[in-house]
């Protein structure tokens, strides 16, 4: 067993996804299967191989450090589930 129910509960908390007990059970089984299948990568010797984060030229292009966008709060807030005084509103964080 690569992964148990406790580990699944932990990573679900890290990912901010609530799981029902039934979801946690099936995900434990599925994730365990997937991770076992993935472990075949261990067969390949990769010492000294450079990791590849992406393809192509990895040097990011530069541009002048000036504001090129913005100034439309109404558009930004248009899809907000809840807003107050020109801000996104969320449940109270500090009591």
């Amino acid at each position: 067993m690569t992964i148990d129910r406790k580990t699944v509960a932990h990573i679900a908390t890290l990912a901010r996804i609530r799981l029902s007990p039934a979801e946690a059970d099936s995900l434990t089984r599925e994730l365990d299967g997937i991770l076992h299948w993935i472990e075949q990568l261990g067969e390949v010797a990769t010492d000294g191989v450079e990791p590849m984060a992406g393809v192509g030229n990895m040097t990011l292009p530069r541009r002048p450090d000036v504001v090129t966008d913005g100034g439309y709060p109404e558009k930004i807030l248009a899809n907000a589930p809840e807003r107050a005084a020109g801000f996104f509103a969320v449940p109270k964080v500090i009591e």
């Binding site: 992964i3 580990t7 699944v8 990573i11 679900a12 890290l14 990912a15 901010r16 996804i17 609530r18 799981l19 029902s20 979801e23 995900l27 599925e30 994730l31 299967g33 997937i34 991770l35 299948w37 993935i38 075949q40 990568l41 261990g42 390949v44 990769t46 191989v49 450079e50 990791p51 590849m52 984060a53 992406g54 393809v55 192509g56 030229n57 990011l60 292009p61 541009r63 439309y72 558009k75 930004i76 248009a78 899809n79 907000a80 589930p81 809840e82 996104f88 969320v90 449940p91 109270k92 964080v93």
Partner: protein
């Protein structure tokens, strides 16, 4: 006269140019076909009013002699592309009601060329799937049926609605995105042509992100020439996407004229996998024979790390997805489920908003990136990715393009038992390699299975050499003479 919906993009452009019909007539024909084929569930949102307005504007431009490269051509847009003022869902409950106040660069390019939007095509949730079964908006039905059967089949995924719409003649062409095969596999399942361009060829700006180092937008159409025309309109450097490549844009359509005489075509022995159906093997052999007859030289090659591509992909793609999907938290857009606290709200929103496959991948991604597992999984996968990409670099010293099957199977039933997620992942075994290496890949319909379902062949090329890929695809298309039509049209 052929019905308007049966025309290719190239012939429709000729017809519009000669004044045989108007953009409005062409659009109305497709809107009618969409209405008649709602049972396929190919669209999440239809935009008939917008389509008519765009078509009328196109007719005005054409009268003034100002028609663009795709003027008046009605297309479907995968619901992963943000469209200004039009609901964009990514096939997910969590984007409920999201209306972007901006336009993706690729769709903006299409509208600039004069294309007409018919609607937003159904897709697997967040482009995660190979069947379109993970869409919150329900499965898409493949317009094709097995001979003598009436069983509903999947169109493939994740761009299943786009592929079904083009196959069923509801749209002349469509956009898709391909992270591990999401254009090529549905193109194969639906008997049409689909191209995943080189990473960086099309801007990712305004496309809902799945795995940013792998995602690439591309076209679906019914001929290789049409795909070449579409790519020319979609592609191009975009300063808003830092991974968009600032490279020259060739005339892809003109490049088709060259033929394959003297080209070297690689056949990778590792793509002959265990349990591959004999008919796929036969089709592949047929493809080799066709290209040889057209004057190409067939070369046996080796891509030794092929078998590790799929497990490598299932570390890298979920890792990037877990990071990209962190933004769906019920604060700025989409679904919100109220909770007692902020983190309660996050957790309940994401529980209700994400489907099972998305949860699986976000959790795998979170796991492989978490403290203690990063080196063992994520770093290991990045090193494998280097080796997989190197296999291709070495192969392209010897050959100009590579020929493989697109998928190890034809379309399967929408209710096929798929309890093991890994079984589903195997659909992409021949396509993920091109994403990991960032290379262009094209699927061309090449024949029918014994059950009467379309099967595609895949051509993989060097980075930014779509011209060669399309040329090889054109040679396959000419030899295959694929004329079969989906059951929905019979």
């Amino acid at each position: 006269m052929t019905t308007l919906t049966d025309l290719t993009v190239a012939s429709a452009l000729d017809g519009l140019g000669h004044g045989d019909f108007s953009a409005r007539e062409l659009t109305e024909a497709h809107l009618g076909a969409m209405e008649a084929a709602r049972g396929l569930n190919a669209f999440i949102t239809e935009t008939p009013e917008k389509a008519r307005a765009m078509a009328d504007a196109s007719d005005v431009r054409r009268r003034k002699g100002k028609a663009g490269a795709l003027d008046g051509i009605p297309v479907a847009i995968k619901d992963l592309f943000c469209t200004n003022g039009v609901l964009t869902t990514a096939g997910s409950h969590i984007l409920d009601g999201f209306v972007p106040p901006y336009e993706s660069s690729v769709t903006a390019n299409l509208w600039r060329a004069g294309a007409v939007m018919l609607g937003k095509a159904n897709m697997d949730e967040f482009a995660m799937g190979s069947s379109n079964l993970t869409s919150y908006y329900g499965a898409v039905v493949n317009p094709w049926k097995r001979k003598g059967e009436n069983v509903a089949l999947v169109p493939g995924g994740s761009s299943g609605g786009s592929a079904a719409a083009v196959s069923a003649r509801l749209a002349m062409a469509a956009t898709g995105t391909d992270t591990g095969g999401s254009i090529r596999q549905p193109a194969s399942f639906c008997g049409i042509v689909g191209l995943k361009p080189t990473y960086g060829r099309c801007s990712r700006w305004g496309i809902v992100a799945f795995a940013s180092s792998l995602d690439q937008a591309g076209p679906f159409a019914r001929t290789v020439e049409d795909v070449a025309i579409l790519l020319g309109a979609m592609a191009g450097h975009d300063p808003k996407d830092s991974t968009s490549a600032d490279v020259p844009l060739p005339d892809f359509r003109a490049a088709l004229a060259g033929g394959v005489r003297g080209m070297r075509i690689g056949i990778p022995k590792e793509y002959r996998i265990d349990g591959m159906p004999a008919e796929i093997e036969r089709l592949w052999q047929q493809g080799r024979d066709w290209l040889k007859a057209a004057g190409a030289e067939i070369v046996d090659i080796s891509l030794p790390h092929t078998k590790y591509a799929l497990p490598t992909y299932y570390i890298i793609a979920p890792a990037e997805a877990s990071s990209n999907l962190a933004r769906y938290d019920g604060v700025r857009f989409g679904l919100r489920v109220e909770g007692k606290s902020l983190s309660d709200m996050y957790e309940l929103t994401r529980q209700a908003g994400f489907g099972a496959e998305v949860k699986r991948r976000v959790l795998i991604g979170t796991y492989v990136l978490s403290a203690g597992y990063y080196d063992a999984y994520y770093l290991k996968a990045q090193k494998l990715r280097t080796l997989i990409a190197r296999d291709f670099t070495q192969a392209f010293d010897k050959v100009d393009a590579i020929l493989t099957p697109t998928s190890p199977n034809a379309a399967f039933a929408t209710d096929a038992k798929m309890d093991d997620p890994v079984q589903m992942y195997l659909n992409d075994v021949f396509t993920v390699t091109a994403n990991l290496a960032g290379l262009p890949g094209l699927s061309v319909p090449a024949g029918l299975s014994v059950e009467g379902l379309p099967l595609g062949l895949q051509v993989i090329g060097r980075a930014f050499d779509e011209a060669t890929v399309l040329r090889v695809g054109r040679a396959l298309e000419q030899a295959a003479e694929f004329k079969a039509r989906p059951a929905s049209l019979l």
